[in-house]
Amino acid sequence: MAVLRSRGDGLFARASVIPLALRLLSIGPVLILVLLAVLFSLLTPNFLKPGNLGNIAAQTAVIAIVAIGQHLVILTRGIDLSVGANLALATVIGGLVFRSFDSAILVMLAMLLSGSAVGAVNGLVYVFGRLPHPFIITLASLSICRGLALELAIGHTTMRGMPELITTIGGASTFGVPNSLFVVLIVTGLAVLMAKAMVWGRWIYAVGGNPQAALGMGIPVRAVLVSTYVISGLCAGIGAIMLAGRTAASSPLYGNLLELDTIAAVIIGGASFLGGRGHIGHALVGAVMIGVIRNALNLLNVDVFFQMIALGLIIVMAVEADVLRNHLEARARVVQASRTQ
């Protein structure tokens, strides 16, 4: 054989192992999630209880939905720091509408509109203000939305009560499965459809891959950019419905640090800040991973401060494990290719 022999070949010494290994390794970050779940279910019997799985779904729903919008933004090399405050503002506006009209449809519409409107402002100011990066406008938007939400909610800090349809969507279950899970699946499905099957989704990847070339090819870059912020805002609006439904209330304090959680979910799912890379579905995996870790730490009764430490450690280890998985997958492919020559 060779002088410069690559590491990793040893692992695949028996030819029969390779197809199986490749099969396993190529399922991506999901593999890491499954491994985590197995680990936690060994550590605490409560983890796999049906009720707990429902809890995880409900706890993760908001992060997952908002992460999907965030992912579209990140695909275009952007960032949306306003999602958490946007969500809070949407719940407050929904709550105010509910005070005047007892209509679930109107309340939901108000939340969706509020969310999308903030997204539209983000996108429009970013694009037509020729700002060098969306960081500043969405950070400003975070501050403005939070301030507005507090201002609007003044005197009635927490507005209790939501129409029944909304509490059913956000808080109830059907056959033991939380309804929010269905919403997450529908939103993810639609997003994947748009991103992969529609021209508009292709344009998002193109703009993220090479913004200048996208301009050169006549893609309406500005419209594409604005649209991703609108969708991210819309997702925040959907998240607002879910959270308002789950808590049967609205509050200007909701969604604290949601921006960091969603960005982390997207990056854990394998997207890149350099744009144009990453499968939408993986954001869901990232969100669930964060949800699972938090839930397990709660179940394991880990001391509060140590929870913060453990959360950090486990997230890094999960991402590190995915790096390793990628590496092994590449090795397995090389070995397979050279065997089948």
Binding site: N46, K49, G51, N52, N55, A58, Q59, V62, L150, A153, T157, T158, R160, T167, G171, L243, R246, T247, A248, A249, S250, S251, P252, L253, Y254, N256, L257, R294, N295, N298, L299, N301, D303, V304, F305, M308
Partner: protein, 283 residues
């Protein structure tokens, strides 16, 4: 016989809640049949985190939950717990219009704020100026401390020259206090709705070289450096709650309720004015 397993959930990591946790731990030590599982959120606005904690306590099969609600919107999660047969005792703040609790152990923040206001009224004159260092805007308990203070102050016509938000941090407390002092060089008084910004304001007064007597500083919580500020004479008074008492009596009520005994539905652990003279008894 079987252990009584309960959950004890506090808002976020500051000394106040640490004291509550310690008191609960002491209670569990004194009552071996009680097993307490602890949980805490990460910040004053970590609503979703507290909901997740409630849910996982229920999953773990606790019989009761003692909780300092971070926000009234955790009520539906508590309703679900109650539906699963879990008893709930609230501590520190109430959830208005929510009927599910077995008992409430609290300092009424509004009334406690009033104590501070009444103290200010006693030392300020007509036309004096006051700057307010607010806590976390939108958090009811902290807003109540300001509103209660204003209520207590009624009667003398004191001019409010500024209100700044401090998020209950010393860093922002010192900055906002500095700016208050710049905008109003002859400021007569400062009220801080939590401990850390009160300590920050004391530091700002000290850094600015203002005489201790020239300005009245009133804090809240008697924690986080207020003791030193009171000793040094920069801070004039604070309002102390009794977190340990609150926690112990709350847990006790919860345990009794689980055993099926009858408990008081309102336990007021009270609040008191702390000054340099009487501070020894509040440590």
């Amino acid at each position: 016989d079987e252990k009584i397993k309960i959950g004890f959930i506090t808002k976020f990591p500051v000394p106040f809640f640490t004291i509550m946790e310690d008191a609960a731990k002491a209670y569990a030590k004194a009552h071996p049949e009680v097993e307490i599982t602890f949980g805490q959120g990460t910040s004053a606005t970590d609503i979703e985190g507290q909901i997740a904690l409630i849910e996982s306590m229920v999953t773990q099969g606790v019989k009761g939950i003692a909780l300092t609600p971070v926000d009234p919107t955790v009520a539906p999660a508590l309703d679900k717990a109650i539906a699963a047969g879990v008893k709930v005792v609230l501590m520190d703040n109430n959830i208005p219009d929510w009927q599910g609790r077995t008992a409430l152990a609290t300092t009424d923040n509004y009334n406690a704020g009033k104590i501070a206001g009444e103290y200010l009224k006693s030392v300020l004159k007509e036309g004096d100026t006051l700057g307010i260092l607010e806590g976390v805007p939108g958090v009811p308990a902290l807003d109540d401390r300001v509103n209660g203070m204003l209520e207590g102050l009624k009667g003398v016509n004191v001019k409010i020259v500024g209100r700044g938000t401090t998020k209950c941090t010393e860093e922002l407390g010192i900055s906002v206090a500095e700016d208050l002092l710049t905008a109003n060089p002859h400021l007569k008084s400062i009220y801080a709705a939590c401990g850390p910004p009160a300590a920050g304001a004391a530091q700002a007064i000290k850094n600015a070289g203002i005489a201790n007597d020239a300005i009245v500083l009133v804090g809240f919580d008697f924690c986080c450096g207020e003791e030193e500020a009171l000793t040094a004479g920069i801070e004039d008074a604070s309002v102390a709650q009794f977190p340990a008492k609150m926690s112990e009596r709350g847990v006790d009520a919860l345990v009794k309720a689980i055993r099926g005994e009858k408990v008081e539905s309102l336990i007021d652990s009270g609040a008191a004015l702390v000054t340099k003279e009487n501070m020894a008894q509040f440590k």
